[in-house]
Amino acid sequence: MSVETGSKPFKVIGTRVPKLDAVEKVTGTVRYLPDLEVPGMVWGRILRTTVPHARIRRIDTRRAEALPGVLGIITGFDVEQYPFGYAKDHLALKRDVVRCIRDEVAAVAAETEEIAAEACRLIEVEYEELPAVFDPAHALRPEAPQIHPQFPGNLVNFSYKFQAGDVERAVREADVVVEGTYTLPYVTTACLGTMAAIAAWDPRGQLTMWSTTQIPFLYQRDLADALGITGDRIRVIQPPVGGNFGRGLDLYPIDIIAALLARHVQCPVKIVFDRDEEFLASPTREPCVFTLRTAARADGTLLARDARVIIDNGAYVSWGSTTPYVMMTTVAGFYRCPNIRFDTAIVYTNNVYSGSMRGYGNLESTFAIEAQMDDLAERLGLDRLEIRKRNANRPGDVTPQGLRITTCALDGCFDAVARDVARPIGRPPRPGWKRGIGYAGMFHVGGGARVYRSDGCGAIVKLDDFGKVSLITGASEIGQGSETVLAMIVAEELGIPFGRVSVVNDDTAVKPWDVGVHASRTTFIAGNAALLAARDVKRQLLTLAAQQLDEPLEELDCEDGVVFVRRAPSRQVAYEKVVRAGHFREGGQILMGQAFYDPPTQMLDKDFRGNVSVTYAFAAQAALVEVEEATGKIEVLRVASAHDVGRALNPIGCEGQIEGGIHMGLGYALTEELKLEQGRVLNPGFLDYKLLTAPDMPEILLTLIETVDEAGPFGAKGLGEAGTIPISAAVANAVKDAVGVRMTELPMTPERVYRALRPARARPS
C-alpha cells in the first residue's frame, strides 16, 4: 500500500490502529445477538408462505398450539399492527394476501427453537393462488396481475426524472454515440451473522429491542408506528453484529414480529434467522435493466448521457426502490457531461423485495457508464485512460444536479492504478488463456448524504476521575471500524494516548441522535461530531485547569494526558486531577463536551437539484484478468485500487474497507446471483450462492491519495463503499480487452462468457 501525502503532524491520526473490539473478536469473548439471553426468554419462529401470490383463505393453528412447549401463535388476523416500510405498503404479518415468497403469515413462540420450528410445520394455511408476475417488463403490461390495488399498473409511485441541457440535440451533433443495455442481478449482503432480534416488554409497557439495525433512531420511530405505540416507549440496543452492509437500513418484519410475539406471550422473545431464511428474507440489491446512450465528440469529450432504468422492486417498497437517487447522481455527475436525461420505472413484481446494499445504485450506474467509456474509446481510436482523464471531474466543478466538487484526485487515482496494474506479474499467460486489463473509476458522496431532513450525528465526550475518556456517539458500529476511527479522532484532539478512549455506541437510551450507517458517512459526519465534542470538553478542561494553575487560559495546551503551561511546560497537571478537582469541591462541575454536526448541504429538490454532500469521494480501479477461451472462465489476477480518501485517518481501516469492498464487488462481477424462478429463491445457501473464497482473491495493490479536505475531520472523506463500486466495470472492461467481447450481464459466469465468445468467433476476422 502506498500513501501519497504531505507531512503528518499527528500522534494518533494516520497510524495503523487495530480495531478497538479486535481482542474480543480474536478471543471469542465478543457477544453477538445470538449469544445473548434475557432471563425468561423464549424462542420465536416465523412461518412464511409457500406460494408467491395468493389469498389467505384460512389459517388453522390448533394442532400447533397443542404441541407441548408452544406458548403462543399469532397471525395477521389476530394482532394489532400497522403498515410499515418506505411506502407503508405492507404489514409485518400478512393479512388476506401474500405477495412474495418471503411473506410472513404466522409466528410461534415456544420454549425452544426446535419446538417453534416444529409448531410452524403444524400450522395449516389454505391459499387461493392468484396470478403472479415475476418479470418487470410483464408487470408493466396492462393485462398483468395487479399486486397492490392502490398502485395501478404495478408502478411504485416514485418518480426519478432528471433532465439537464438538450440531450436530443447533443446526440444529433455528436461525432459518436454508443448504446447498450446492461442486466444486473439480484445479489444479497450474505452477512455471516444472520438477522436477529430480541424483544422484551417491561411492566410499564416499555419495549427493549436488541436488534441488528444500523439506523437505531429512525428504527425507534418506524417500529413505534408499526406497533401503534409512541417512540419514547422503545429502547434499542445494538450488540456487535456479524456484518450489515446496508441490510439494517430499514425496519423489517423480524423486529416487529418479535415485539408482537413478546407482547402476546408476555415474556422476552428471540428470533434468529437461519441461513435459508437469511437468503430468502433479508433485503437484496435490486435487479435492474439499465439502458444507456453516451454521445461524444471525436476528441472524446462527453456531450450527453441518456439513461433509462427498469427496476424490479419486488413485492414491497424498501430502499431498493430509491436507488435511482444514487444512479442518477452518477449518470449526471461522474465525468463531466453537460446534457443528461435520466428516467426510471420502478415496478412491483411478486419477487422478494430489495433493500439497500453497499454502494447502492452506484455499482449499477458505474457498470453502464464505464462500459461505454471503453466503447467510446474503441470507436474513436482513443486510449482508454486518455478519454477518462479528458472528461475527469476536477476541483471546482459543479455537476448538472448542482453537486459541488471540492477536493478531487480522480486523475491521480487513474495514474496510480495504471502504474500498479502494469507491474510485472512474473509469468506469461497460460496456453489457451488471454490476458487483458480494464479500468473503471468512481464518484460517490464523501461528506455525508442528505437523504433525510437531517444528516446529523451527536457526540458526547466525557472525562473521568481516572484519566479515561468516553466517547458517546450516535454512530453505529457494524464491523466497519467506526468506533476505532472515532476514538482516534478524540485521542488526537484531546492529546491523550489512544488506549484511554472507550466508545459507547450501542444504546439509544444513552447515545445522542444519529441518522444511521449509510452513504459512507460515518467517518466524516460522526467524525466531525466527535471532533467538535472533544474540542468542547477540551475548552472546559483548559478553563478549569487555568483556575487550578492560576494561569490565563490562552497560555495552556494539552498533550500526552496533561495540561501544561506553554511557556513553562514543567508546570502541568494531569487531566484526571483537573477532573477530580472539578467535582470534589463546592459548586463543582463535571467535564463533558457535546456537539451535533449536521453538514451544510441540501436535499435534492423536486427537480433533483441540490448539493447533497459536503465533499465527494473519487477512486479508480484496474483489473488484470485472464480469460480461458475454451471455457469462458475469468480469473482476476490483480486489482489495483486507488482512492482519494481526503486523509487516511487509520490506514489499516481504510485498507480493510477497500479490500472487503473489492471482494463484494468481485462477487457481483463473477459469481454472486440470487436465483429466482417463479418467485422462489433457488439457491438459499453458501453452497449455491457463491461468495469468493480466499484462493479466489486476486493480488490487491492499494494507493490512498490524501487530498486533505478542509470540511472533513482532519481532512478525511468517506470511503466505506468505494472499493465495491467500480470493480465489476473494470473486470468487464478487462474481459473485453482480453477476448474482445462486451459483457453486459452480471455475473460474468463462464457460461455467459462462453456464449458471448461463440458469435464473436463465428464472425469472419
Binding site: V26, T27, V30, L192, P240, R275, E659, H663, L687, P695
Partner: protein, 170 residues
Amino acid sequence: MADAYPLELAVNGRRVRRQVPGSRTLLEFLREDLRLTGTNLACDTGDCGACTVLVDGQPYTSCIMLALDVDGREVTTIEGLAARWQAQSGAAPPALHPVQQGFLDEGGAQCGFCTAGMVMAAAGLLEANAAPTATEIQAGLEGNLCRCTGYTKIVTAVAVAAERMRELRR
C-alpha cells in the same frame, strides 16, 4: 432426557461429562450446553467454516459433527486456544496464540463473525504445516468464508503468525 447418551471428552483442557441426545451437534453442545458462545453458527451446513474448532488439533466444522462423535477426544474452541498455546510454548498468560495476535495486529477481524472459525482453521493449518506459502494459506482457509476483509489481511495475519511461531521455535 430421552434418547440421551453419555459423552465424556476434554474441552479446552477440562474434562466434561454429560448426557446428550444423539442428534445434538458438537456446535449445539458447545454453545448451548457449555455456553461457549465464541464459536458461531452461520450456515448449519458445513459450508462457511464459522464454527470451526480443533478436535485433537485438527480443524472441523462443528455444525455438522455430532457431539457423540467426539467422545473421548480433545476439543479446543476459540476460548481455549490461548491456553493451548501457552501449554505448547511455555508462554505466560495472558499471551495469545500467534494466530490470534496476528489477526489483532494485522486487522484480520472486521465484523468478527467468521473470526473464531478462521483463527481455529489457521491454527490447525499451522499445526500441520509450520511454514506455509501464501498460496497454501489461502488453500487452507478455502472452507472459511469472510464477507468483510477480502481475506487479504487474514492471509497476512496467518503468515505473520507462522513467522512468529518459527522464530519462537528457533
